[in-house]
Symmetry: C2
Subunit: 261 residues, 2 copies
Amino acid sequence: MAAWTQRLAGVRGVLLDISGVLYDSGADGGVPIAGSVEAVARLKQSQLKVRFCTNESQKSRGVLVGLLRRLGFDISEGEVTAPAPATCQLLRERGLRPHLLVHDGIRSEFDEIDTSNPNCVVIADAVDDFSYQNMNKAFQVLMELENPVLISLGRGRYYKETSGLMLDVGPYMKALEYACGIKAEVVGKPSPEFFKSALHEMGLEAHQAIMIGDDIVGDIGGAQRCGIRGLQVRTGKFRSVSGCIASPPPTKSRVGHVFCF
Amino acid sequence: MAAWTQRLAGVRGVLLDISGVLYDSGADGGVPIAGSVEAVARLKQSQLKVRFCTNESQKSRGVLVGLLRRLGFDISEGEVTAPAPATCQLLRERGLRPHLLVHDGIRSEFDEIDTSNPNCVVIADAVDDFSYQNMNKAFQVLMELENPVLISLGRGRYYKETSGLMLDVGPYMKALEYACGIKAEVVGKPSPEFFKSALHEMGLEAHQAIMIGDDIVGDIGGAQRCGIRGLQVRTGKFRSVSGCIASPPPTKSRVGHVFCF
């Protein structure tokens, strides 16, 4: 425990990924990962600040929080940093009118955004809406633009549902990048701006926080590049072949390990 | 004309791309590009050897040739180098059993291939069959393999149909590469083996041939890397922004320029 105490010295806040850390999503709504409901409750009873930092882009924050509350989590909408609201802010700042290739579940987040005569494409985890026809339409919109702008809500490779591993938005972002010869702008983890925004909401500096996630690139790598400590859980999409983990593995593999704080 | 005569010195054979050079494909079967039927006829009357070198992977060679003959082209199945037969040969040589993510129109080319208990994925221009579900299945097959093998029939970014630009197999190949952290093996242009196979069929050396295509990467770049001269037409997917062309542009923009041979 001495080593862990040292590693966690000065930590005043915890950033928690949601999918694969708190729960595994699924067509049935998903299931909590064993110990995670209790871990969140215990964190909130501690002196630590807690913020949920997710790339969820199938569901609006309201729907996601409602689902997690039904699963027993102590969470409110204001505690969640998610890419859709950050994207809306960026679109407004730059006068961009998006063609949306997104899941119906998150479309309401863009209700107040002008989508007429698009001058960019916004892509998110669209699941079944990643049809050839929809991908081709997004491609054609980009190819018609003199300066094509592609904004991607995250760039995750895949995530785990109760039914198995599922392609995330990243592969489709790469497909459009290659087709159009462009580079997407990523909103969400691992973008530094996204982590900084979450830190700002917590009123903490990078060295005072730790990010707990299952994605070695999006969660751990992204956090570390901002000076935030990273801890990879062995739930969700974790695979022992996916790369080295950020810290020596704890003796158990659950987010419940934050109990030792 | 002097410059062109010099550029074509020693050429004894012509490799012709099909889609975007001879015709624009489409739901209605497609339409010949103006002058191309006559150009092929004239080439065949000349002393030059002619071979059709295509990445077509929606249609079997038989169906493609039947379509082109109905459009007026003088072409036979034995004159076509296409990726599906080359892929079957590769699968047999390496004892690979593919999970096929291909268009129904080309499935018959794999009739004699064992597809039970797959140990690789073969991807081709699947058009509407590039559904999320089908892409996710291919991804899951690859993730289950200890040494995932992804074989792609071409890696084109897009092609032109009568209805507009259409995503080709390349973007979907990139999506699976990124999702699985692997590199695909490409069968078809711009693979050197593919051009060498076409040259072998013609009985020519690389310096004796010229490749005529609309794709600066697949047709022109691929040919040039094998020592074959390349000539980009301004039909099909050609866009002035897609890169520099391989030779100074001719005064007209049609494949009909091969008339000047």
